[in-house]
Amino acid sequence: MPDWSMLTLVGADRPGIVARVTRALYLHGCNLGEASMIRLGGCFTMMLMVSGGERRADLTAALRPIAEELGLRIHLEPAPGGLHQHLLPNLQVRVFGADRAGLVADVTGILAAQGFHVLELESDVAGDAERPLYIMSIQGFCERSIESVRAALAMLSDDGVSVDVASVDLLIG
């Protein structure tokens, strides 16, 4: 089992960052595992699993020139996990409504009380500055029934929040 580290990169977005970083990792002798890159608020954000290469301290040093040139903040730490540890979601929760403080905490708090394990969460703010619209999509696994999760979230609908719970129908073929 390779020893994985989690590399986090955050900075102003521009084309070519992924190519520069992954080339440097390759030249350092690293392998890449699972990765996720997304723009958040116009920022470049990326997390990726890296293994191999020389010592962790050396990797940070090897990436420093690129980080400085591209204005990226870098964080590298040992990752306890490994590959092939996917968990499959069985429920999807979609929430949208007028943005308000505490909405995410309310939704995820209710889900946690249902024993819902959040596996993926994506959220965005749409609309405009005067009337921001919060949109969130959560996929996760819950042993309780969809009816139970739906009923628990129903109280949120009272204050203008739309909550939809659907099953994730995995097809294997």
């Binding site: 996917h86 999807q92 994506e122 999509s137 996929q139 995995l170 097809l171 294997i172 073929g173």
Partner: protein, 167 residues
Amino acid sequence: MAILEILTLPDPRLGQSSRPVEIFDAALRDFVADLEETRRAGPAAVGIAAPQVGCFQRIVIVDVSGRRKTPNHGHLILINPEIVHWDGFAIGREGCLSVPDYTGNVIRATHIQLKAQDLEGQELAFEMEGFEARAVQHELDHLDGLLFVDRVVSRRTDLYRRKVYQT
């Protein structure tokens, strides 16, 4: 009867197109029995296509009858299947016996009209919807050398396609 070996990525044979079945004989029936046994031997697959076991003929099995609340036509052996009409589309999560340890979101038609032949070569026609239609589209892709990973869309895509789910 035998459990056949399933080809998995990156085996290039999975990209091969399959030929129509022309002879409906005992060998075909024996092969389909093995294909069914292979489908049942693995993780709960609702379908399997002949090329997944290295037989490049247009043969698939689909059976979604074991799922709750799912419209279906029972256990289907489809020889030389062909979709003649598509309607609607929806995103759904798929995995594949030939792509272990990976699932992804794929857009498929929600309603299809399907022509095929049975084991005796008799013509069949079906109208299908939902999960069964999705399973048929997944399996027919195999006959054309396509895998669901050729069609995966971003997990974020569904954020903007909420209505799609409700069809």
